[in-house]
């Protein structure tokens, strides 16, 4: 394997298009274990971390721009970002150990295309957009348009994600991401659930986004659960409807981490809890985050 570390997006695109057998990487926390497990080595490694735009986190007036190769620890340590997106910050903070957090990135977590990627449901409920570098410039797509299946993305050869754009949440809005794992730290989601809730002054839900991870080939929104929330207060009956819709939306696999039936049931429970936490944040009842803790 050869290695290059371009300093501009254009040079990275050039390196990728001139070498067919090339691969971009950020933290390499998935890439190196995959190579060690026997996946073919790329001929050229293109390190994106020397491109300033890829490792910058910028708060604009109406949105945040997060470089796709930024280590996730930069997000969890960013108090302003975490105050505005506690759920997304928590999700980013669940990716591996401190050692991994200093390398892992949102771009890598998304493009590795694991169905269990923790940050993806949280990005989706926040309507995050991915700015994709192409040989002709950049194009912008929704984060939910990036993964197409386990290990598969919609990005063409030579394309990579430069940065994410996330609009600041409207007033009275809260987000949350909860993950079920059988231990406390350092594990892969059995189920993950992200939620973003907007309330009016009376506690009625005016907007709801719910996305599940690890229960289908890609993270997915749950429109039926969202519909059960909008126009209603967060009551036990409404939460029961959310749980039922979330369980019904699952198309999981049986594996060593959980059975199909278990994943479906837990998806309902986690979706309900995530909605409750997001709604409490939207109402200002809690502002605490659980970084460094677990669901």
């Amino acid at each position: 394997m050869d290695y290059v570390a371009p300093t501009t997006v254009e040079d990275a695109v050039g390196a990728l298009t001139s070498t067919p057998d090339s691969r971009v990487f950020a933290g390499a926390t998935d890439l190196i274990p995959q190579i060690r497990a026997g996946r073919p080595e790329p001929g050229l490694l293109v390190d994106l971390k020397r491109i300033e735009r890829l490792t910058s986190v910028t708060e604009g007036s109406t949105s945040w721009t997060i470089g796709a190769a930024t280590p996730t620890s930069r997000l969890t340590e960013n108090a302003d970002f975490t105050a505005q997106f506690p759920g997304l910050s928590e999700a980013a903070g669940l990716i591996g150990s401190d050692q991994i957090q200093n390398r892992s990135s949102l771009g890598g977590n998304l493009c590795n295309a694991s169905p269990a990627a923790d940050s993806v449901p949280a990005l989706i409920v926040n309507d995050a957009r991915a700015v994709v570098a192409t040989s002709g410039g950049t194009r912008v797509i929704g984060v939910d348009e990036v993964t197409t299946g386990p290990g598969q993305t919609s990005l063409a050869a030579g394309e990579f994600i430069v940065e994410f754009e996330v609009d600041k949440p409207p007033a009275n809005t809260g987000d949350a991401y909860l993950r079920m794992i059988p231990r406390t730290e350092m594990d892969i989601a059995v189920v993950g659930a992200g939620a973003r809730i907007t309330l009016d002054g009376q506690g009625t839900v005016t907007d709801a986004r719910i996305a599940l991870g690890a229960v289908a080939p890609t993270a997915r929104r749950v429109p039926d659960a969202e519909a059960a929330l909008v126009g209603n207060a967060i009551t036990d009956d409404v939460l029961a409807a959310v749980a039922e819709a979330a369980s019904a939306a699952c198309n999981p696999i049986d594996d060593k981490r959980g059975t199909i039936d278990y994943r479906k049931q837990v998806a309902g429970v986690l979706a309900k809890r995530a909605v409750k936490l997001a709604a409490d944040r939207a109402a200002g009842i809690t502002t605490a985050t659980t970084n460094g803790s677990h669901a």
Partner: protein, 158 residues
């Protein structure tokens, strides 16, 4: 596979080494630079035995391609002690018998150093989360946690 010339700072001194472009920084540190205190456990970022500081951040040297170290500042276990005395973390690990076979110890010490640099007065829970990326197969966690808390106390008193 081509070889790359890498310039960086290791344990306070300028250093340079030749490395396979796709080789790990772990192998370069051990085989080219001779810093064998950096241990290989799993080689996939799960066990933390190869923990080092790169630009003051704790990372697994096995998950870094060697050429990525160009221009970076690296601290390994060999750079932890002072000229004439052990670092308080090392002293507390010794006094608290916070090790058995010792293979995980350099990684635990570097992860603990990163924690105390950032949070000089951690709770036990915070120590446990901060060291979640380090595995000890002799199961010496309790003494390790206590040694880190003792070292924090020592550092805060000095």
């Amino acid at each position: 596979m081509s070889r790359t010339h890498v310039n960086c700072t290791i344990n306070g001194d300028p250093a340079d080494f030749l490395s396979e472009s796709g080789g790990s920084l772990l192998n370069a540190l051990r085989d080219e630079v001779g810093l064998t205190g950096v241990k290989e456990g799993c080689g996939t970022g799960d066990c933390g035995a190869c923990s080092i500081l790169m630009d003051d951040r704790v990372t697994c040297a096995c998950l870094i391609f060697a050429p990525e170290a160009e221009g970076r500042t690296i601290v390994t276990i060999e750079g932890l002690a002072g000229a004439n005395e052990l670092h308080p973390l090392q002293q507390c690990f010794l006094e608290g018998a916070a090790l058995q076979c010792g293979v995980c110890t350099p990684g635990f010490l570097m992860a603990a150093k990163a924690l105390l640099d950032k949070n000089p007065n951690p709770t036990e829970t915070e120590v446990r989360y901060a060291l979640a990326g380090n595995l000890c197969r002799c199961t010496g966690y309790d003494k390790i946690i206590r040694a880190v808390l003792d070292a924090a106390e020592t550092l805060n008193a000095s």
